[in-house]
């Protein structure tokens, strides 16, 4: 009994940690850069597949490969925002138009990135084994890679959470998310902060993808979509625009997912969506959202 509970909790925290990273990334992009990046999942996918290539093709240890994939995805995100979304902001007549336009652009990006990935990696599932040995904790068997991934996910998540809530640049970012205009007046360079946050969001997605590829088999170019949907649900759960909320929301949803998964894995996404619907009915602003 304790074995099952322990497995559920660890699994929940692992997934939750990954969800938290993904959602914080998306929240950074929506909250600060004002782009609802529905292509977010594609960056996760890129993270996973790039890690696979670096490990199986070049023998680079997945955890170390972050030094390559991380900055790479950060730069891609930064450049995309600087070229596409900043330009959209200047062209859009109203915030509503900007939101609509950037949504469509992100949709286009999703298909572009996905198809590039299919061309590069083909549609077949990619897996690799790393740190696949089993350890025994409290009488329960765990794979090392999952424990390491959990540590990394939660570690990075907590660090980021603290960075946002305690440090000055972190607070500046949150200020920019709440009120870009005033933040600009307070001396925050909006033109640099927005693409920076977008790039940071891409980085977090890439890291999440790396961890996913480490723990789960069968990464394909199509894995992005369901991750984007989960990220969106977490962001709404935590509160649109609240990055700390995404962290907490991710952990909560991860644990719920783990419990549901114990009963039937195929129901996890259905359960998430059901929660999403209830959320929209009773408290759309989410846990930390303001009415």
């Amino acid at each position: 009994m304790t074995e099952t509970i322990l497995k559920i909790v660890v699994s929940g925290l692992l997934n939750g940690g990954i969800y938290a990273l993904i959602a914080m990334g998306l929240s950074l992009q929506y909250g600060v850069a004002k782009v609802l990046n529905i292509a977010h999942g594609e960056f996760i996918m890129l993270g996973a597949l790039i890690t696979w290539t670096l490990y199986t093709g070049f023998g680079i240890n997945p955890l170390l490969s972050l030094a390559i994939s991380g900055p790479l995805l950060f730069v891609i995100g930064f450049v995309l925002h600087r070229t596409l979304f900043t330009s959209l902001k200047n062209r859009s007549p109203s915030p509503a138009a900007l939101e609509g336009n950037s949504l469509l652009v992100a949709f286009g990006l999703m298909f572009i990135i996905q198809n590039i990935a299919i061309l590069r990696w083909s549609a077949l599932g990619k897996s690799y084994k790393y740190l696949d040995t089993v350890v025994w904790v409290a009488g329960t068997a765990f794979r090392v890679n999952r424990l390491v991934a959990l540590a990394v996910a939660v570690g990075v998540g907590v660090t980021f959470y603290l960075f946002l809530t305690r440090s000055r640049p972190g607070k500046a970012i949150r200020a920019a998310a709440q009120d870009p205009g005033t933040a600009g007046l307070m001396g925050i360079n909006i033109n640099r902060v927005l693409p920076l946050c977008f790039g940071l969001g891409a980085f977090l997605a890439g890291l999440a993808g790396l961890l996913i590829s480490m723990c789960y088999t069968g990464s394909t170019p199509f894995m992005g979509l369901s991750n984007t949907v989960i990220a969106l649900i977490v962001v709404v759960l935590g509160g649109l625009g609240s990055i700390p909320g995404s962290f907490i929301g991710g952990l909560i949803l991860g644990l719920i997912g783990s419990i549901v998964s114990n009963w039937d894995t195929a129901l996890v996404l259905v359960a998430f969506y059901a929660i999403f619907m209830i959320l929209l009915l009773i408290r759309p602003v989410g846990i930390f959202g303001k009415k």
Partner: protein, 332 residues
């Protein structure tokens, strides 16, 4: 409203042209090869999807990412009710059921999300496709114990005529909504929702109603297309690409006008049938790039080029368009 009141002679010319087109299309299968019948049917399907998406998202500015969900509902209704091993209902009935199911889904979606800010609507409609896929997959595997279903055969010609009918219905509905109270209400919501509400528009009701109506046609198109797919499983039925394509077509053609999405649909359908089989990934990749280029440089789509052309060409063509437009503004 009295229709004849606002048709000047130039419009009557257009109507005659349309009539000729309808006659041509109705007799088309009698003298064409199967290949072209299939192509036209696909064009009709895409027109239905593009025009019905633009029907709601165009004037209101609420980006629905759900066409794939409604299309999929139609497809899967046919998969359940029109099976190879024995259809439960005749095809027209199946299509009606599929349309109603889509309507219900859209209505419920609207009830939940359209009373909130547009971003929630976008998020919910985006995830809806994935949700339905997972849900129906689960139900099929655990309850019905099937992986996929085979659908009964329907000839290309039958599909052609049904899709032609649905296409005409969609275009007529779109046309009359544009000129109606509902159309004006939607435009006001797109212009400034808060002001619209303050002028007496019941914004939530207007949005839900139009959204649900637009879904009807998507469901009908799905149910009609399903037999041509032959084999259907939840993954094939609920495919997010079918959300991308109508949006692409409508934005490319110009979502502010009625004929814009039609142009976009025709171009896409034609290029798809020629190119997508051979270069599926480059094909979609290119369209993704085109979508982004259009949003940046031609936000009004191809249809946005028409006024610019009009100014250059002058003469009878310009009078044809100008006459029509001035009437449109004076009478609603």
């Amino acid at each position: 409203m009295d229709i004849t009141r606002f048709i000047p002679t130039n419009r009557k010319l257009l109507l005659v042209g349309l009539l000729i087109l309808i006659i041509f299309l109705t007799t088309f299968p009698l003298y064409s090869k199967e290949y072209y019948i299939r192509l036209m049917a696909i064009i009709f399907m895409y027109i239905v999807l593009a025009v019905s998406w633009a029907m709601f998202s165009g004037p209101t500015g609420y980006m629905s990412l759900a066409p794939a969900a409604f299309f999929g509902v139609g497809v899967y209704t046919a998969a359940l009710l029109y099976q190879l091993k024995g259809p439960l209902l005749p095809l027209p009935a199946v299509i009606v059921v599929g349309s109603l199911a889509s309507f219900m889904l859209a209505f419920l979606t609207g009830l939940v999300t359209l009373r909130l800010k547009g971003i929630y609507f976008a998020i919910f409609t985006f995830g809806l496709v994935v949700f339905l896929k997972e849900l129906i997959n689960y139900l099929e595997i655990t309850v019905s114990k099937v992986g996929g279903r085979h659908i009964s055969y329907v000839s290309n010609t039958t599909v052609f005529y049904i899709l032609l009918g649905i296409c005409v219905a969609t275009l007529l509905t779109a046309y009359f909504i544009r000129r109606s109270r509902l159309g004006l209400a939607m435009q006001s919501i797109g212009g400034n929702e808060e002001a619209a509400a303050h002028m007496g528009v019941n914004t939530t009701r207007v949005k839900i109603l139009t959204f649900a109506i637009s879904a009807v046609f998507m469901g009908a198109a799905g149910a009609t297309t399903a037999p041509r797919l032959v084999y259907v499983d939840p993954g094939l039925a609920f495919n997010v690409t079918y959300s991308f394509i109508p949006i692409l077509m409508a934005v490319f053609g110009g979502m502010g006008t009625l004929y814009g999405p039609v142009i976009g649909a025709a171009v896409f359908a034609y290029t798809e049938i020629r190119l997508r089989q051979q270069y599926p990934y480059y094909y979609m990749l290119t369209w993704g790039i085109i979508l982004i280029i259009i949003i940046f440089f031609l936000p009004a789509g191809l249809a946005g080029l028409i006024p610019k052309l009009r100014d250059r060409l002058g003469g009878p063509i310009s009078k044809l368009w100008k006459g029509g437009k001035a009437e449109e503004h004076a009478h609603t």
